[in-house]
């Protein structure tokens, strides 16, 4: 049940932590491992994936469904954002075109991907092709040259048109984004019915994937009100002092422990939520409705 290990958090507060996972690193809960507990999937594809025993079977299910709608590729992203800042990006790349995720990571495309930006901003699907992405221009803060590299890489990998949309998790900090891709160069082939079918399939896949063991995100254990998920009593007391704006010394006084001890707990909390400083920690505590 343990989450996967993440690489060390970035040193600066405004950097993004990035990771690519595949089926072998993610799928933990299937019918074979958890027979009854998670069987109640609403969508058909989620139930099928759950029942499938092997990676090859799951690939067959997803690829068949993709082809039936008219797509070749699919990427599923999990984004942790604070305001406009992308704190963490994880891509489930099992169905990504060869070479794309390498470029996505190494070229830093995650930071300027206009499709992801759209999906985080709007609650309806973006229907795109490379010409339309180019015409819309770079997202604020991105260099036009970087967008041009992004478009060249996407074209080279066979991502030439597609649909991208975001799925909001009402509780917690993660947004999920699903992107369907095709080698067809013009988006005109993507009729409304294709959009709807991709949306339905995307929701189904989202349902299945959100039950898997993702690399530990701050709120991986679900909504926590009052007491934060997985916090020990003393951690909770320290956090609740911290978010009321108390300094380490004041917390030590209030909780009758040494400053050294407080410092230790604050460090543990920062590590737990993968943040660099106490302001971020306080913000997360607010979002997670810790009281």
């Amino acid at each position: 049940m343990a989450g996967l290990n993440l690489p060390a958090p970035p040193a600066r507060a405004d950097e993004t932590e990035c990771l690519v996972v595949d089926d072998a690193r993610l799928i933990v809960y299937t019918a074979a491992t958890v027979p009854a507990a998670r069987g109640a999937y609403v969508s058909e594809i989620a139930a099928e994936l759950h029942a499938a025993g092997t990676r090859a079977e799951r690939q067959l299910i997803v690829r068949t469904a993709l082809r039936a709608i008219g797509f070749e590729w699919l990427c599923y992203y999990r984004l942790t954002r604070i305001g406009e800042h992308l704190v963490r990006a994880i891509c489930f790349g099992e169905y990504a075109p060869p070479g794309w995720l390498k470029a996505w990571l190494e070229q830093g495309h995650y930071a300027i991907d206009p499709r992801l930006a759209f999906a985080c901003r709007h609650q309806w699907p973006l229907v795109w092709d490379l010409a339309s992405l180019s015409a819309a221009g770079p997202v604020p803060g991105a260099a036009p040259a970087h967008l041009a590299r992004f478009i060249a890489d996407a074209g080279r990998c066979g991502l030439r048109s597609g649909i991208t949309f975001g799925l909001v998790n009402a509780h917690g900090l993660d947004d999920s984004v699903i992107s369907f891709g095709s080698g067809n160069p013009a988006r005109a082939w993507i009729a409304d019915i294709v959009v709807g079918q991709a949306y339905a399939m995307g929701l189904g896949l989202h349902e299945f994937l959100s039950h898997q063991a993702w690399p530990q995100a701050p709120c991986a254990s679900g909504p926590g009100r009052g007491l934060g998920p997985g916090l020990s009593a003393v951690q909770h007391r320290v956090l609740s002092c911290l978010m009321r704006g108390l300094s380490d010394r004041e917390i030590a006084w209030q909780l009758d422990m040494s400053s050294h001890n407080v410092d230790y707990h604050v460090r543990q909390l920062k590590k737990k939520y993968s943040v660099q400083n106490r302001v971020q920690l306080a913000y997360l505590a607010g979002r997670l409705m810790i009281e």
């Binding site: 507060a13 709807g196 949306y199 106490r278 505590a285 607010g286």
Partner: protein
């Protein structure tokens, strides 16, 4: 705990009392000549207030290529010159797909309860309007139970709902609800929903047909229905934003919003100033205003407030 509470983030909304007046003003801003049609306060104090609006309140901003129309239906709607024309486009699309009614509702959820429902009235028959909320049927709706919290589209017919409702504890309200559905000719359909991020709003989209068997809803019919629902969602987004703004008593300037967002991300004053192309002095000034506004002593507390109130 009802279905919607599991879906929607809950935030405190100060200044509750003035809301009815503000929601009346809401439609005024969209269409100055017309007053909003706010239903009379229901006798059941737990029932949400239902606010009706229609096509005239919806506009789509097509100036921005990024958020421009993404579907054929949305483009057709955008091209329509009058709201009557939009109603015709949508009604005929609905009929072509095979459905009779369409409900598009934005619910405001506060403390796990649906407080208000904003109802697009153009496509729902008059006799069924509002009962879903005035009778609080959403609390016992078996469709809602099926799709609990994952927002999955539910394809249903009355036989399926009957079966689902009999599995749990029998509730006379459920039987009444299903009877009403039957007599209103709502015998099968598709329902799905989504939360509106960073708000306490939750959208519910429902299509119904008089066909008694759900088998007529193929995967392509489902696809068409979802696409139509999403197009309406896009079209209604301006109205939704207005509702969201009205329900959040405190409005921040763009600069304060950006500063707060940087602060929550853990940046120092100097880093914030650099990123927003302004001076440290100016950042400090705005942070002082923000601290005063939220009555907090320091930036850690401010960050907590920003998270708690979903300000960023």
């Amino acid at each position: 705990m009802n279905y919607f509470s599991a879906l929607a983030p809950v935030i405190e909304t100060p200044g509750e009392a003035g809301f009815a007046a503000r929601s009346a003003a809401l439609a005024q801003t969209a269409r100055t000549a017309r007053a909003a049609e706010v239903a009379a306060p229901p006798s059941d104090p737990a029932a949400p207030e239902v606010v009706w609006y229609d096509e005239r309140d919806l506009t789509l901003d097509l100036r921005n290529e990024r958020s421009g129309a993404q579907s054929y239906v949305a483009r057709e709607l955008a091209a329509a010159r009058t709201h009557e024309e939009r109603v015709r486009v949508l009604s005929s699309t609905l009929r072509i797909i095979g459905f009779c009614t369409l409900a598009y509702v934005t619910m405001q959820v506060i403390d796990d309860h649906v407080k208000r429902a904003f109802f697009l009235k153009s496509y729902t028959p008059a006799q069924f309007r509002g009962h879903y909320f005035t009778q609080r049927y959403y609390e016992i709706d078996p469709r809602a139970a099926i799709g609990r919290s994952c927002l999955q589209p539910v394809v249903w017919d009355l036989a399926l709902l009957q079966e689902k409702s009999q599995r749990g504890a029998r509730n006379p309200r459920t039987a009444h609800f299903l009877q009403e559905m039957e007599s209103d000719g709502m015998r099968s359909g598709v329902m799905f929903g989504m939360p509106v991020p960073h708000t306490n709003l939750q959208v519910l989209i429902s299509f119904t047909s008089s066909n008694p068997r759900r088998e007529w809803i193929s995967s392509s019919t489902l696809g068409q229905a979802l696409a139509l629902g999403l197009s309406i969602h896009q079209f209604a987004s301006g109205y939704t934003r207005t509702i969201a703004r009205q329900s959040c008593a405190i409005e921040l300037s763009e600069m304060q919003q950006s500063i707060l967002s940087c602060l929550a991300a853990g940046l120092s004053d100097k880093e914030i100033a650099l990123r927003l192309h302004t001076t440290v002095h100016n950042v400090d000034y705005h942070l002082r205003l923000l601290r005063k506004r939220y009555d907090v002593a320091n930036r850690t507390q401010l960050a907590y407030m920003a998270g708690r109130m979903w300000l960023v």
